[in-house]
Amino acid sequence: MTSPQQRASAATLPFERTLADGGTDPAVAAELERRIRIVEHDERDDASRLPMSARELVGYVGVSIAAVALGIVVVIL
């Protein structure tokens, strides 16, 4: 059975090769791969990499609706 790291490594080799075959500088392809791995693994659980929660979304839209309501109040007054 292969580990997640082994599976990730197996998946990345074709990525670099495919990019390089398509004309991308091999050094650029390798750097891209290095960064994507960091984003997907090392920084995976960092707060800045987590999806926007429903609560955040509702709060954000709520503030926007409040701003619109403020504008309507200005019209009424």
Partner: protein, 481 residues
């Protein structure tokens, strides 16, 4: 030395990698995302208090008085910024990638290229032309004051000043993003102070009563229609930030540092500057501070302020053109990869340089330009929102995004996801059916729902429906994730 460490060192020293880093090819890592909420607020303030905001306020005053104008600006910007920020900032901040790479799932890699080379390029060339003309008008006013003669608001000195502004903007751009950042750090606080000074001059030289009781400059007969067109115009202004916001938001440390400064910073700073422009237009008949600053401020203060305004237009131009060139470079594949940065930036300025010969046209067509570009940008936002939040549930595969046509997830026949492009076209057409900014024809329902938000919703629905129909056999996630 491990292979990973060796690569890390190479990444910081290899000129090829450094260049790709500048062009935004690489997703940014945590240690590279240095902007705090305050930093990003200043960046947004520098953009929002650019002198175009005065013109927006003045254009709003064509339709409504002061109180209704304030309301229209709050409502319009609040709506426009709400979905613009969601569509551009959230994904770019999370993945550290610039927004046009992230759009490949929605439109396909060729589809994104089509959008960038049409809607985005035309929009940003329009704004750059306007900024160049405004810098030219400030130059003309300074020259008039020094020479003691009237050189005119649309005379040849405006064109010369505009062309000089473009050359300086190109020079700033050619020095790279660090130079742009340094200029913005000085310009943003300076413009904030000058905006307050201008408001003081305005109120001191007119009166509060005159301001509140002033009638709109050129309204339609229908008051409700006037108000809704003013709201719609300001929605368009809010949405007009879309082409640059994703590229900026990827620099922030966290979602909070990206989302709220983008929304609140742009909203508050825009409202302050627009209010000054509207107040000037209602009481003096002209929103452009280049016209009334010298008579009110005196020769010395007036000229100093105008020189600062001219310079502020140049830095604003550099900022928006930088993001646009990144988009062009990323969207062109290998076609423009070999073109030097200085040549690419110089090419962008050709059309704005030509437009400086028609300064009056740029000013008179300002509302049409904002609304028309808004029709397409809102539709792009609608598709982008539906794709990221609904279809992909905020999950993207960075490798597949970069592989594009050579991968599987985001590869489409001919590189075009027709669901996205048709969604965009239908959304924009729906906007223009509700409100045609050229003929000024409106549907009855426009007075209740305006055009931008419904157009974004229609674009999103069409995109989701066509995705279910055309792409039903496709998966939205790679097997390995």
């Amino acid at each position: 030395m491990s292979e990973a460490t060796k690569r890390q060192i190479d990444a910081s020293t290899d000129p090829k990698l450094a260049e790709e880093h500048v062009f935004g090819t690489f997703p940014l890592l945590k240690r590279e995302r240095s902007w705090s909420a305050l930093d990003f607020t200043w960046v947004n303030t520098a953009l929002a208090i650019a002198t175009w905001a005065f013109l927006v306020g003045g254009s709003t005053a064509l339709l409504v008085g002061f109180q209704d104008g304030i309301a229209a600006m709050i409502i319009g910007n609040a709506i426009g910024l709400c979905f613009m920020v969601l569509a551009s900032v959230v994904a770019s901040q999370r993945w550290g990638s610039e927004q046009y790479t992230l759009l490949r799932g929605a439109f396909g890699v060729v589809g994104v290229g089509i959008i960038v080379f049409t809607v985005i390029l035309v929009t940003e060339m329009g704004w750059s032309s306007l900024l160049a003309v405004m810098a030219g008008r400030a130059t003309s006013q300074v020259a008039s004051t020094v020479a003691g003669t009237d050189l005119g608001q649309y005379g040849p000195v405006v064109t010369i000043g505009g062309l000089v502004a473009i050359v300086i903007a190109w020079w700033v751009l050619s020095r790279g993003p660090v130079t742009i950042g340094r200029f913005n750090a000085v310009i943003a606080p300076g413009l904030a102070i000058i905006t307050v000074v201008m408001m003081v001059f305005l109120v001191a030289n007119t009166s509060w009563d005159a301001l509140v009781s002033a009638s709109p400059i050129a309204p339609f007969e229908d008051e409700t229609l006037n108000f809704m067109v003013a709201v719609e115009f300001n929605v368009g202004v809010g949405v007009s930030w879309y082409p640059v916001m994703g590229s900026l938001a990827r620099m922030t440390r966290s979602r909070k540092a990206a989302l709220w400064p983008a929304y609140g910073g742009l909203l508050i700073a825009t409202l302050i500057a627009q209010t000054v422009g509207m107040a000037a237009a209602l009481t003096l008949g002209d929103s452009d501070p280049t016209v009334w600053m010298v008579p009110f401020g005196g020769a010395v203060l007036g000229v100093a302020v105008l020189i600062f305004i001219a310079f502020a237009n140049i830095t604003s131009m550099s900022s928006i053109v930088y993001s646009t060139i990144l988009a062009i470079r990323q969207s062109s594949g290998r076609a423009l990869a070999k073109v030097p940065w200085k040549v690419l930036t110089a090419s962008f300025f050709v059309v704005p340089a030509i437009m400086t010969f028609f300064p009056q046209f740029m000013y008179e067509q300002f509302m049409v330009f904002v609304s028309l570009s808004g029709a397409f940008l809102t539709a792009i936002c609608g598709v982008a929102l539906a794709d990221y939040f609904v279809l992909r549930k905020q999950r993207v595969d960075l490798r597949e995004l970069h592989l594009a046509q050579r991968g599987t997830l985001y590869a489409y026949p001919g590189g075009i996801n027709w669901a996205g492009l048709i969604g965009l076209a239908v959304g924009a057409a729906f906007y223009l059916w509700l409100y045609n900014p050229i003929t000024l024809e409106t549907q009855g329902v426009f007075s209740f729902i305006t055009a931008s938000l419904p157009a974004a919703i229609v674009a999103a629905i069409v995109y989701l429906a066509l995705s279910a129909l055309l792409n039903r056999s496709r998966t939205t996630e790679a097997a390995r994730s």
